[in-house]
Symmetry: C4
Subunit: 217 residues, 4 copies
Amino acid sequence: MITEIPEKKFKLPASGSVRLEAFSDGVFAIAITLLVLEIKVPHHEELVKYGGLAKYLLHLWPEYISYFLSVIFIGIYWVNHHWLFSFVKKTNHVFNLMNVIFLMCISFLPFVTAILGDFVLDEAFMQPAITFYCIGFLLPVIPVTLIVLYATHRHRLVDPRLSAPFIKRQLTKLYTSLTCSTLSIIVSFYSPYIAFSIVLAMFILFLLPPETPVYGE
Amino acid sequence: MITEIPEKKFKLPASGSVRLEAFSDGVFAIAITLLVLEIKVPHHEELVKYGGLAKYLLHLWPEYISYFLSVIFIGIYWVNHHWLFSFVKKTNHVFNLMNVIFLMCISFLPFVTAILGDFVLDEAFMQPAITFYCIGFLLPVIPVTLIVLYATHRHRLVDPRLSAPFIKRQLTKLYTSLTCSTLSIIVSFYSPYIAFSIVLAMFILFLLPPETPVYGE
Amino acid sequence: MITEIPEKKFKLPASGSVRLEAFSDGVFAIAITLLVLEIKVPHHEELVKYGGLAKYLLHLWPEYISYFLSVIFIGIYWVNHHWLFSFVKKTNHVFNLMNVIFLMCISFLPFVTAILGDFVLDEAFMQPAITFYCIGFLLPVIPVTLIVLYATHRHRLVDPRLSAPFIKRQLTKLYTSLTCSTLSIIVSFYSPYIAFSIVLAMFILFLLPPETPVYGE
Amino acid sequence: MITEIPEKKFKLPASGSVRLEAFSDGVFAIAITLLVLEIKVPHHEELVKYGGLAKYLLHLWPEYISYFLSVIFIGIYWVNHHWLFSFVKKTNHVFNLMNVIFLMCISFLPFVTAILGDFVLDEAFMQPAITFYCIGFLLPVIPVTLIVLYATHRHRLVDPRLSAPFIKRQLTKLYTSLTCSTLSIIVSFYSPYIAFSIVLAMFILFLLPPETPVYGE
């Protein structure tokens, strides 16, 4: 059974940003779902050590919190990625590769989350666990900033009517995120609590809806 | 190779509910498929302990049942999510985030299922395993109720012609599910068998097809 | 940013078979990809036992073969699922649930494959490993047969012009598959080699392209 | 609720290359995301052995590099697969099966990556680990070459206006990749360093954008 693919006009967008978005949605969906694999199902012997299943499940609370934070974190990136494509009008090879780098940082998050959930309550390992989480928090901001810079530079890949002040505001937000994340990494060596508070504060700011794209001068 | 994305008119829906649905479908598909990873492949030593591979595979029966129940459970949510989008006409930032919370509860199910499958036959751990399963059963109902409340409040995101009595009937069903799930958690501390029966009864009710949306007064 | 979803006419198909196909494609894609997780990365101590990494990787050959067979097997089902939707014109609640059951059988295959790959070379466990594989081979055929029966009964969900003899030929093929798979399970208790040969023969037949749908009397 | 699927004209492409691309995107997305599962979360005892969490996380550097290389590698294949479908106009049964074989090689990469990351620093196992990586690098090139040969032979599945010299250039590139990958495997037995350099060189060449399809004589 040979299946004809219809006229080129319909085909081109499909192989343009539609596939890029579908591929990215796939990575987001999997990264969110894989997070739960990091919460370990106990063996019978472990349960005895913890004093029963109920106690074991309760003592997992830091893992539930880091699971929750990471799901919301990936969800926010999904919302913003989707928002980005409301004004990006073209894709090219460099943009595609940058997007792959960004997705790599997103799919690294289940590992970062597992480290945080497992060791944040452990006096000896809390500091490196939080430093690592701050690094994991910074990582996706770098390619996102590069992607927005690359796409908006001389309106390379965005709608030509997209307002310059709108672009500037987005870049300012991204530079602020980069600065705060870098700061949180440095601070984490001295005070993990303050570092984690910075991350949480950024987190809450990220929850705010992204600005609606502005067109025209 | 630069790929032009065509006229905005086609683009907008793609970045609207189409991506939300694609992303959600991805999470449903992965959650269903990950469930099988919780059924462990035995080591040679374990097989000797269980008296052979055939006996080992047969003794896994509670895992097969909890696998089956969880697949159907996620499948029902997929059907209902898909039905929800037959009358939701717009999405916004809050709706997107609520949907992420809902998907988080769905992707938590493989963990809940693994706990049930591993410990339901163990006298000592049966009660907490069933309580945990009842909690896992309740969890997605909460964001679903909030999503429907949010979307239908003053027809915020739904078709303006959607009938008010239809909306009311859906909310009544959701409140009933919330009440029964909460009840099953409480009951599970005293009688795990009755709690599990409540869950199974709700399960069978959930299998019924959702009501076709009614438009007009 | 509120995103309007356009006219209902475009919306309905999207929530019809398009989402069903997308969801199913997700499950197929994940099931194929999860198969590799069943091939274990060795610990250093194991390597010493096997006499080095090269020897370890070579001795994994039954796992590579069962990986290969299962990928092709899932791939064939994907091709046939896709072919099914070239003549299925509607979906309904029962059809959706049947499809979930079918996908459950598909996502069970990584477990079946792991059991075969791990134990087929082990004298003591070869017979149950092959019986289990034959069961895993039979499992998806059951819901597929029910799906085709349900969809084609009085042309319930298929194109009304679909030729009756074409439908009959498809059902005959499915009954033959059911019979052969059941036979292979029974035979596997007496002669695993003959059972595996039946499965391989069916496998090669499945590789043939499905019949192009015939319309009109 | 019965959902009608609209006119056949819209349906056919959806079951043509659109589903093939969606399915492939799913596999690419999952393969990229699964890679992180191969980076193991440590147990408390292991941390003591390594001298703390920070040291453990630092000593994982070869795993981070092999993670990075594999993500980019899969990303490049995704970009090229997407490019391939800008001139492939039809699909058929053989093409679908070849694509499944190709996806199998892609989803094998997380295993190859894990082996490289775990053993490349181990004197005793470095040579087989690199040989295995070279094999993993060669594997997807074989089905890609066959797919392009099959689709372009007498313009079987590609746009009939696709330029013959363009096709020839693509095949020459593929034959070169095949030769270099095979060479790297042979060389890896004598000098893993040179073999790895060949792979890295090919890698950098693969990063260049694929040629825009040329139409007309």
